[in-house]
Each structure stands twice: as structure tokens, then as C-alpha cells.
């Protein structure tokens, strides 16, 4: 299953400047694994050493935060699903 992952501006430098990346994956976690395998520089920005999603980065499956899905990262991807990475930003001036 190919899924499109939207990459925020702050992390685009780690995926060759692209706004989104298509990766394979049967579940959310698998898609994120494949993303960080292909783009290794991204890994430490998304997950801590234990492999847990960092607390200042959220991943949405369509419009739902994966932290609040029943199966969380193990949620199975369906045709047409998209993932969105949303990091915490603080700018205002």
C-alpha cells in the first residue's frame, strides 16, 4: 500500500526539500519506518531512542491524531489514506 506523507517545512531539508513523500506501508508505523529508513536524517526528529514518537511531533492519519486511534501506530492503512506530520512551532514575531 502506497501512502502519501505530508512533510512540514521544518523537516523538508531531510527529504530533499519535498513537501510530501510517497512510501509503502501496511500500517502507520510501517509507513513511518519506511520513511525514516529512506530518509535517515528525519529519524531523530520523529522518534526518541526507544522508537516512541516525540512529544513535540504529532502524526495524523487523514484528520485524526494517531495517539487517539484505537490501534494507534498499528492502525492499518486503507487506499487513499494520507499521513501528515505536524511539529510544534513557536514563531510569532
Amino acid at each position: 500500500m502506497a501512502v502519501n506523507i505530508a512533510i512540514p517545512t521544518a523537516l523538508r531539508a531531510y527529504v530533499g526539500g519535498n513537501g510530501s513523500v510517497d512510501v509503502e506501508g501496511a500500517t502507520v508505523d510501517e509507513a513511518l519506518d519506511n520513511l525514516t529508513t529512506t530518509h535517515a536524517g528525519l529519524a531523530r526528529h520523529l522518534r526518541d531512542k526507544a522508537g516512541k514518537l516525540r512529544s513535540f511531533v504529532n502524526v495524523y492519519l487523514n484528520d485524526e491524531d494517531i495517539r487517539f486511534l484505537d490501534d494507534k501506530g498499528a492502525t492499518v492503512l486503507k487506499d487513499g489514506d494520507s499521513l501528515i506530520i505536524v511539529p510544534s512551532i513557536a514563531g510569532g514575531r
Partner: protein, 389 residues
Amino acid sequence: MRPLDELPELDNADIARYSRHLILDEVGMEGQRRLKGASVLCVGTGGLGSPLLMYLAAAGVGRIGIVDFDVVDESNLQRQIIHGVSTIGKPKILSARDRILDINPRCQIDLFETALVADNAIEIMKPYDIVVDGTDNFPTRYLVNDACVMLGKPNVYGSIFKFEGQATVFNYKGGPNYRDLYPEPPPPGLVPSCAEGGVLGVLPGIVGAIQANETIKIILGKGDTLSGRLLLFDAMQMTFRTLKLRKDPEAKPITELIDYEEFCGVASIDEGAAARETEPEGFARISVQQAKTRLDEGWKPFVLDVRKSHEADIVSLSFADLLRPHEAVVAGEHDGIPRDRPVLVHCKMGGRSAKAAKALAAAGFTDVTNLEGGITGWAKEIDTSLPVY
């Protein structure tokens, strides 16, 4: 919602001024009286605060508090449209007050020339109905959030980065707050500031206007606010996306204010803090003054500029040897950088170059020095003929 008989009346001058509101069914006399009786505290008078304050004043919000400790700088004017050339060097709160009173002299303006900190936040925020977060840093954002939760006030949130904005309403009618969205901030240095990363000038205008819109709807008690939804705006793709925002059942209750600098400095104690504390062997730091002295004494380092090429187009050091973005250096592109000479690494302000210099030292370069303050420090202290950007 405040009962009608507690709201201020509108006089004939008000009615003439707000006629475009009054003929809207959703505002009308009642809504305009609600605006006149409302009080809003705006934390920050920068990019987000500029349009926000001007629209709230124009809309007839009766009492507006402003918190800021900064002075107007010429580089603010690319986006902070409440300020102008005539107020460069003045405190931002005074510059903002003058502009607001020019738009609407009937506004009551309260000025707080201070940083919002844990010791003063509750006292400053308490008298206001709504708090709007127009700050530019994680510690103040968590402080504003926690104080709003403790005081039971809605927190109208907006933040920006380069071409992207986020907006929502936190802590409104029992809805989620900032810690439900992001339990912890990123470690310092992971996300560049606007000064390092840049920001499209019109972006805070759009996001700040959205914050003003949400504030006014809360005052009116009309429409659907962004509570429970996170709005993402991408100015380049011109897309608006709304994502669901829920209360985190694992979130700890907020019962007191904490040390927010510490919270934001050590929150990610694994790699972030470790990377700052353990500087690899072969890595050193130097001030621009020290660097100048050593260079004059005959020090001949290989000078590596780790900014982007469009930044080098603005200004470069005449003695730079190689331009290579810091991401490339961190990712291991080290060809062309000599191992048998000292290497002096610089960027705009010293943040990115520190990462690149540490990466080189960790990769076995034995004499790598970071230029603290970067080319900006050099332009301000050593060669003032250079432009500062």
C-alpha cells in the same frame, strides 16, 4: 456569557462608527455591546500581535492589554505592521498604543512593559476575559497555556514558521489545551527561530487576523470556533487544513506554574540535552573578537560557511573558503574540507555552525572552531561595513 443588563450601552458615536457590524444580524446591538464590554490581553506585539491588535481595536473591543518588553527594530517592519519608521527604537507597547488609539481612541489600553513570567502571569492575565498568544518562544507559550488553564480563560493560539501557520483556540468551554496537543516542547535549537529560519512577512498577518476572528467570535458567542480543531495554513501551497484536536487522557492536570525556561531547556533529556552537554573532542568555540585577534596574529584556519547560498548572496566573509549548508555537513558531506588544518565554521548567528562543527569534530576533525555570533556578530562588532540581515 455576561447578562445583557451588565453590558455597556452604545452611544450615537458608537452607532455611527460600528454601523457595518450593527447591520449584521450576528453582531447587532447586543454583539457590539459585548465587544465594548470585553477585555482581551495580547501577549506580544510582533508579527501576530500587529494585525490582531489593530483588528480588535477597530472592531470595538473595549479594553485591550498589551504585554511586551521589546523595542521596535527596523527589521521588524517587514511584517509587524502596527509599528513604523517613526517608532523605531521606541518600546513596542508605546508604538502599538499610539497606532491603536489612532484607529480607535475609545479603546482602553493597558500596558505591561515586561516579559510574561511565572511570577507575574496570573496577576497580569486575571482581569481579562480572553488571552491571545502572539509570542515567539516555547517557554512563554507553555506559561500562557498553563496560566489560562488555571484561570479558566480561553487562549487564542497562533504560531508561524517560514511559510506555515498553526491556529486554534485552547481551553475554551472545557476543550483541549496546548499540552493536549504537544505535551512537551522540542529541545532548544532543534527548530530555528524566525531570525534564523526566516518568515514570509504576510504570514503572521494572515494567522494574526485568524486569531482576531476567533477572539471576536468568542466575545460574540457566535459561530464555530477552532476549539477542538487545529488549523494548518501553508502560504506556499495555499492550503488550509483542519485536524482534530482532542483532550489527551494521559495529560497531567495543570495545578501550578513551573520554571518554563527549565521545562523547555531540559524537557527532552535524551539526545537534546546530551548533545549540548557533551561537546566532542576537537570542538571549540570562539567569539568574533577573539577570532579577529587570532586572525590578525596569523591564524590561518580553513573557513567554512554553512549557510544557504541565498544567504551568501546577501553577505559573505571575504576570507571564507567553502560554502556548504549545515545539513549537508551534518549528513556527512566532508569532501573538500581539509583534515590537516584548523577549520573555522560560521553561519548567520552561530546556531547551525555549532551543529556542523560538532559533526565535523565527531567525524574525526581534530581542530574545529565555531564562530559564536556568526557573520551577524562579525558585521556588528568587527567589520561594520557589512550589512546585517
